[in-house]
Structures are given as structure tokens and as C-alpha cells.
């Protein structure tokens, strides 16, 4: 495990912001950390990075306690937007960051290239657009090829093309074997690029599993004529809106089609029905807005 937490809790006075969270991020995976605003995502991430001390519970990141220099040098992070000096250029900001991480200016130029900011590297940070600032934050996180990337809303402020680039970048990082912990509000984005997700609501981790598991079993929708014969032929089904909903996997589809055809039934439509991550998310966090 790259990240593990045991009953990680943070309280401010009477308010419990993070409540006994048990998070497990595996090596090489892209882990989506989901939750409504104020659910405790950022506080949890801050605890993993040692910015905030837990009230109780423990965490290990890359086998080290949170905030230990040994671990931090192997982690790249972008938390709640990039924090840079407004009067410095993008490149100088990264040079400052590189000195703290014991990296070279050559590596700075390489990550600027990676996030497509080479042309604007000498412009002042304060003159950057929101998307450029975000990309500079990602560049800082990438400096030194960290084993673990913790990205809190990395697509904030990016246009659709920038968001697509970010998705590609995360996929590429995964391909290179890096582990990514990604917090995002964009469920479609998480569904597309994450292997597993954790859902936090009211400070509690309400689910942690693969995206597929979270969405539940596949249901096959079948429309056929004559319908009454089809209903008798296909087992494990129910009728919904004039169609059959068959509890079976996508791999079972050819077998079902064959059985229907052999029974002289015309198959008009057969396709998998699956709940989206968004539907699952709203069910899990119902009432929390």
C-alpha cells in the first residue's frame, strides 16, 4: 500500500471534520477521492501531507509518517490551487521550488515543457490565467518524478482541451507506474481515469472500491418480439417499461441472443445498462449538499 490510514480523525472544537477514515491507496493505481464540498477531502489530504496534524488515528504515506521529509521528497502535490509568488515568473517559481527539493534547473525546464508552459515560462505568475496557474501547480508536483502524486481538483480552471490534456497526463503517469491520488468534483473524469475510488461524506469514508464494483452489477436490456415468449426464454429477468432487464454480464449477451433466436424470437435491441458513477455518488451522499 502506498497510502494507508487507520481511524484518521480531525476535530476542530466540537466539529468533527474527518471521522475515522480508513483509506487504502495501492501502488500504481489512480485513486479517485470523491465527496461533496466540505466533506473532508482536503483536510484528509492535508493530513496525509503533514500540513495538518490528526486529532487521532494514524496514517502512513510511502511507508513513512505524514509530513516526513523522506516521504515528502517522493510525493508531488497540488492542494487547493497552486501557491506561488506572484511577482516571480513561472520558471523562477519552479526554480525556488526545485531548490527546496534539491532538483536542477534542467528538470524545471523539462516539467514546464511537460505541462506546455515553455512559451510562458518567463511571464510573471500574476499574469497567468487560472488554467496556466493550475498547470504550473501540476508542473511543481511533477518535479523530481515523484512516486506518488496527490492532486486536489487539478482540472479547476482548465478549459475542455486543458482538462483532456490533464486526463492524458494522469493516464501517462499511471503508465509510467506512478500512483495518483486524485480528488475531483468531476465524476465523469474520475470514472474515466480512476481505477478505484473512495467516497467521503460528512467526514466519513462511505465507500472504497473499484469504479466497476461501485456501479454494481450490469443489467442487460432486451427488447424482443414476441415479448411473452422472450420473457419465458430468458431467465433471471424482470419487465421494466416494456423491456426485459436481465441480471447478467455483458459476456452472457451472445448466449441470450442465441436462445431467443432458437425460440423464434426477433431480437430488436440488447445492450448493457449500468449506473453511472454520478448516480452512485448522489445515492451515497444523499442529503449532503
Amino acid at each position: 500500500m502506498i497510502v494507508t490510514t487507520e481511524k484518521l480523525t480531525k476535530r476542530y472544537g466540537d466539529k468533527t471534520v474527518v471521522d475515522a477514515v480508513e483509506l487504502n491507496v495501492r501502488a500504481g493505481e489512480v485513486y479517485g477521492f470523491l465527496g461533496p464540498n466540505g466533506a473532508g477531502k482536503t483536510t484528509t489530504i492535508r493530513m496525509l501531507l503533514g500540513l495538518v496534524k490528526p486529532t487521532s488515528g494514524t496514517a502512513r504515506v510511502l511507508g513513512e509518517p505524514p509530513g516526513s521529509p523522506k516521504a515528502l521528497l517522493r510525493i508531488g502535490s497540488l492542494i487547493e490551487g497552486p501557491g506561488f509568488f506572484p511577482y516571480l515568473s513561472g520558471r523562477d517559481n519552479l526554480r525556488v521550488h526545485a531548490r527546496r527539493r534539491d532538483r536542477t534547473d534542467i528538470e524545471v525546464d523539462a516539467v514546464l515543457e511537460q505541462v506546455d508552459l515553455s512559451d510562458a515560462k518567463n511571464a510573471k505568475f500574476k499574469s497567468y490565467s487560472l488554467g496556466m496557474k493550475q498547470r504550473l501547480g501540476v508542473a511543481a508536483a511533477l518535479l523530481g518524478q515523484p512516486e506518488l502524486l496527490i492532486l486536489d481538483e487539478p482540472t479547476n480552471g482548465l478549459d475542455p482541451a486543458g482538462m483532456a490534456d490533464m486526463r492524458d497526463l494522469v493516464r501517462e503517469l499511471k503508465r509510467q507506474g506512478q500512483t495518483v491520488l486524485l480528488s475531483s468534483h468531476l465524476l465523469g473524469e474520475v470514472e474515466e481515469i480512476c481505477d478505484r475510488v473512495g467516497v467521503i461524506s460528512n467526514g466519513r469514508l462511505v465507500a472504497e472500491s473499484s469504479v466497476q464494483e461501485l456501479r454494481g452489477d450490469t443489467v442487460l436490456l432486451v427488447r424482443a418480439d414476441p415479448f411473452d415468449i422472450a420473457e419465458r426464454v430468458v431467465e433471471n429477468s424482470s419487465v421494466v417499461d416494456g423491456a426485459l432487464h436481465v441480471h447478467a454480464s455483458e459476456e452472457d449477451a451472445p448466449k441470450i441472443v442465441r436462445a431467443l433466436v432458437e425460440a423464434d424470437v426477433d431480437v430488436r435491441e440488447i445492450r448493457p445498462l449500468r449506473r453511472t458513477l454520478e448516480e452512485v455518488f448522489f445515492e451515497m451522499t444523499a442529503g449532503v449538499r
Binding site: L51, V52, P82, G83, F84, D92, H97, R100
Partner: protein, 273 residues
């Protein structure tokens, strides 16, 4: 070392650093030399600066070290305090402390790097003040056909030490205020209020109440003023002659250490939210 190099790079490239140093150099030049020289040339010494000969003596290279130290307990110190408070306090608003503390170095190293970099800027400021003041003194001596009699090397070193200690203490106070208020505005406001207003008011009260007068001598500004006074840099606001040089030096060094240590302790202990 990485933290120090990082902080120094961003402070050197920060326009505010050079604006504040520039303002201080203009102030020391204007109040230490330009006004005195105008008064000397016009023959107007009614403002209490002494006779023309005394004014001229103050502007000579032999007195340049005193000229540097004279302005630091109050106005120079206030400028250094503003610089340090801005340098540290702004990081909370910009989110750069968050970036710094997740970059890798221990928190104590990160703050140590900041203190060392601010200290380096203070050394540069003091060195430039010496250069400017000696330059002005030599120019006036040349223009007025006076001898270039220089202070002894030991005296210059003592002056550098006193100036560095006084400016360093105010810088440490600025860092401390920046950390404790987690922002630049309140840190600068409180710092200026203390260095320019509060201690002067307390000295006024001290004229009426003996115990208050005893306390004001050992407050940060009072200790800095006494150190300047013990060096012989008298005749400026905030300069006092109540304590010995050793006592004043120890007090100023003590304040510097306490402010730096509290700033470091808070940085290590507190959550960064």
C-alpha cells in the same frame, strides 16, 4: 541549505526588497547628510544640531559608522521590520507556505532558511548603508577640503556589529509577527505601532513614572537605542544612553533569539490550514 537558497532567490527577485532598501538608503542619506549639509552651508544651526563645526564633524568619514548606527533603532529598524513581516506574512495569503512545507524540507529547516535569507538581506542592507554613508562623507569632505581621516578598523567592525544586531533584531520581530498573525497587513501594522508609537509613548509615561522608565530601557526599541547610544551614535530619535554597551548588546541579541525561536516553534507546531 536548499531552503536558504530558495528563500534567498525569491527575496533577491522581489521588488519590495529593493524598494525598501532603497527607501532606507535615501532616508539615511537625506537625514544623515543632505539636511545637515544644507544647514551647514546656509549657516542655519538653530534646529539644535550644534555649531557648524559640530555639524561638519558629524558628516566626516571618521563619524560615518555612527551615522549608520544612529538611524537604525527607530526608522531603519521599522523598515527592516516591514520587510521581514511582508516576506513571511505574505506567504500565508499567497499559499507559498503550503508549497514550501510540502516540498520536502523539515519545517524547522524551512523556517531556518527563511530566517537566514532575511538575515542575509539585513547584512546587505547594513553593508550598503555603510557604503552610501561613507561615500557621502567622503564626498562632503572632498567638497569642503576636509581631511579624509577614517575611523579605525575596530571601530568600523564594532559599528557593523551594532548595526547588524539592531537591524537583525527588528527583522526577527518582523518574522515573528508575520508568523503569529499569518498575514502581512496585521504584522506590518502591529510592528510599526510598536516600533514607532508604543515605545515612544511608554518613554513619555516613563518621565512621570520611574518604574515604567526602567522597563522602557529594556524593551526591544529601548535596548536597540541603548546599543546605538553606547556606540556613540547619539543625537537621533530612539537613541538612548541608559545602559552599557554589553548589557544593551546582550538584550538585543536575546530579543533576536527569542523572536526567531518563537517563530520557528510556531511554524513547527501549528497546522497549516
Amino acid at each position: 541549505m536548499g531552503s536558504y537558497r530558495a528563500e534567498l532567490l525569491r527575496l533577491v527577485k522581489w521588488p519590495a526588497t529593493w524598494v525598501l532598501i532603497g527607501v532606507w538608503l535615501v532616508m539615511t542619506l537625506t537625514f544623515g547628510y543632505v539636511f545637515n549639509y544644507v544647514a551647514y552651508k546656509s549657516g542655519d544651526t538653530s534646529r539644535g544640531g550644534g555649531s557648524g563645526a559640530q555639524l561638519m564633524a558629524q558628516m566626516m568619514p571618521a563619524e560615518a559608522a555612527e551615522a549608520v548606527v544612529r538611524g537604525l533603532p527607530m526608522f531603519g529598524g521599522a523598515i527592516v521590520l516591514v520587510l521581514a513581516a511582508l516576506a513571511v506574512g505574505s506567504g500565508y495569503g499567497w499559499g507559498t507556505w503550503k508549497t514550501t512545507l510540502t516540498a520536502g524540507p523539515r519545517r524547522i529547516s524551512a523556517m531556518g532558511g527563511t530566517l537566514a535569507a532575511v538575515g542575509t538581506i539585513v547584512v546587505v542592507l547594513v553593508a550598503l548603508t555603510f557604503v552610501v554613508d561613507f561615500g557621502a562623507a567622503l564626498s562632503i569632505a572632498t567638497m569642503e577640503n576636509q581631511s579624509w581621516s577614517m575611523p579605525s578598523f575596530d571601530h568600523v567592525v564594532q559599528g557593523l556589529g551594532a548595526a547588524g544586531l539592531i537591524a537583525g533584531m527588528w527583522a526577527a520581530m518582523g518574522v515573528f509577527l508575520g508568523v503569529i498573525t499569518r498575514g502581512p497587513a496585521l504584522a506590518v501594522g502591529l510592528g510599526l505601532l510598536w516600533s514607532i508609537v508604543a515605545e515612544n509613548l511608554l518613554r513619555g509615561v516613563g518621565a512621570l513614572l520611574g518604574p515604567v522608565a526602567d522597563v522602557t530601557k529594556v524593551l526591544p526599541g529601548g535596548a536597540a537605542g541603548n546599543l546605538a547610544g553606547a556606540f556613540g551614535a547619539t543625537g537621533a530619535p530612539g537613541v538612548l544612553t541608559d545602559l552599557s554597551g554589553v548589557t544593551a548588546s546582550l538584550l538585543v541579541a536575546g530579543y533576536l533569539a527569542v523572536f526567531a525561536l518563537i517563530a520557528a516553534w510556531l511554524t513547527v507546531r501549528r497546522d497549516l490550514v
